[in-house]
């Protein structure tokens, strides 16, 4: 059987400024610094229109090619895209108002209460959502709950207030008084992953031929840890997301591998297709609440808006070869083995050089490299460096060591085969794959022949191993395409 293809892609963003306070870093800083920290955060939040017009966000949903960022002087915050649309070929940027409605649509356990005054507005915002018909949405959202009951739950029952436009508009409850895995903050994290992941999957289904019922298997590469006290992280949010999107004939499970999760999930999907086990596999990654505002101190210190005010969510449909769409070469998988070592050079040799050697290609035979595509405007102000640029320079250095390019050609290599980072720092979301939609378009248009996708994972963060991780694959022009 021919190698599988990525038939469709979806990349969506959820503008969630009122949830920045619940990111891990802001939560800890507010706990330590109180009102002044919260006030400083709120003073640096962006409007929805500002988030939509922000050039990297336009790249993420496919309205701009990543190369266009090279033409825009930094800081990109100073150069909003005029007339920018929240809709793009890969997905959309949804407002917080819509997303709060989606949270309720995703809520199977009446965890979220919305107050009677604002509930109709959230219903209106989410109306037209493909997830449920108006009658079902009305039943969930209306008439809402009296604000006095919501405030009492917050004061006495461990419920977490939900904010929008500067006021409390509801709350989310815990679901057990002694279970750390079912506290309100954890359930909010999980529910936001589910709702944003479902949004991405729904966009994927609208881009793809076929219906939700045609999906055989759903793989989630999200970074949440759904479960209760006996099985923290047990999952499976993949089926919860598939259920929300009406994938009634699909089964599914979760793939966990830190930031390299999406690449592993695509590898699993492609392998299952190639083995003939399934015909249409959806890979989906919902957004990560914990990472909202992760670098806010750097942004505030440089008087930038807090750029980590969006959840990212991704979805990919992996199917059998259609004779047109670029293929995932399954003989090109680059793997960071347990014995590979953890230095950057060792990791890049494992992910780039070893697979290229195996298939008889040189570093310079690859037209485009997609590494982890963290937006540098998010990371540089906080001292975390320009992640994609550093990775590109390492790949270029390997090409120098192999005498494929001269040392003086490093900058040109980086400029022509790399790209500026444009993805929100949501861990798994920047893992190279936001370039998939662009790459498929570029290959189909004859601009490039192939693109390599590589991402790394930080296994050491869980304190069970000192290991790093990584995986790569090559996307290549379909040999049957005219």
């Amino acid at each position: 059987m021919a190698d599988p293809i990525v038939k469709a892609t979806a990349c969506v963003l959820v503008h969630a400024p009122s949830f920045v306070r619940y990111g891990s870093k802001p939560t800890r800083e507010i706990a330590g610094g109180g009102e002044p920290v919260l006030a400083s955060i709120e003073a640096h939040l962006r409007s929805f229109d500002q988030a939509v017009a922000y050039p990297p966000n336009q790249v993420f949903i496919g309205n701009l090619h990543p190369d266009r960022l090279n033409d825009i002087d930094p800081p990109w915050t100073d150069h909003p895209i005029e007339g920018a649309s929240p809709s793009g070929p890969f997905g959309e940027i949804v407002s917080e108002r819509t997303f709060i409605g989606l949270l309720k649509a995703a809520d199977e356990f009446d965890l979220v209460w919305l107050d009677t005054e604002t509930a109709p507005g959230f219903l209106e915002a989410v109306e037209g959502s493909p997830f449920q018909n108006r009658t079902d949405l009305e039943k969930r959202i209306l008439p809402g709950i009296a604000i006095e009951r919501i405030l009492e739950k917050i004061a006495t029952q461990g419920s977490l207030p939900l904010y929008h436009a500067g006021r409390i508009i509801g709350c989310i409850h815990r679901h057990h008084d002694q279970d750390e895995s079912l506290t309100a903050p954890i359930l909010l994290e999980n529910l936001m992953t589910k709702a944003s992941g479902a949004l991405a999957l729904q966009h994927l289904l609208t881009h793809a031929d076929g219906t939700a019922e045609d999906i055989d298997f759903v793989l989630s590469c999200s970074e949440e840890a759904v479960g209760d006290r006996y099985n923290r992280g047990g999952g499976s949010i993949a089926k919860a997301i598939g259920e929300m999107c009406g994938c009634i004939h699909a089964t599914g499970c979760d793939i966990k591998a830190f930031c390299v999760g999406p690449v592993y999930a695509i590898l699993h999907a492609a392998s299952l297709i190639k083995a003939g086990v399934f015909k249409r596999v959806a890979v989906v990654g919902g957004g990560c609440l914990a990472k909202l505002g992760m670098k806010f101190k750097g942004h505030v210190a440089h008087n930038l808006p807090i750029l980590e005010d969006v959840l990212g969510a991704i979805a990919f449909l992996v199917t059998e070869d259609d004779g047109e769409t670029p293929i995932i070469r399954l003989d090109s998988i680059g793997r960071h083995t347990i014995g590979s070592g953890s230095s950057q050079q060792q990791i890049m040799e494992a992910l780039v050089l070893n697979p290229l050697d195996r298939i008889g290609k040189k570093v310079t035979d690859i037209d485009r490299y997609a590494t982890e595509l963290h937006n540098p405007e998010v990371t540089v102000p906080s001292g975390s460096g320009n992640v994609p640029l550093n990775n590109y320079r390492m790949i270029a250095a390997l090409a120098v060591l192999r005498k494929e390019i001269d040392r003086s050609g490093i900058d040109a290599f980086v400029a022509s085969r790399g790209m500026p980072g444009f993805a929100p720092t949501q861990g798994h979301i920047p893992a190279a794959v936001p370039f998939l939609g662009h790459a498929i378009g570029d290959i189909k248009a004859g601009k490039i022949e192939n693109a390599m996708f590589l991402a790394k994972g930080s296994l050491f963060l869980g304190r069970m191993s000192q290991l790093s991780d990584g995986l790569s694959f090559l996307l290549e022009k379909n040999p049957r395409a005219r």
Binding site: C259, S343, N390, N391, S468
Partner: protein, 42 residues
């Protein structure tokens, strides 16, 4: 710098130099690693 007999605390960085690589260098240089961790800043 002479690391012989020195005790060192290592903070590695995922996209820079990870802790095990630093530890290998400093151990070879005669230092005693008393704490070593790699962090991820993205």
């Amino acid at each position: 710098m002479d690391f012989r007999g020195k005790r060192v605390v290592i903070f590695g960085e995922r996209d820079g130099v990870p802790a095990p690589a630093i530890a290998a260098c400093l151990t070879a240089a005669g230092a005693e690693v008393i704490y070593s961790v790699t962090e991820c800043f993205v």
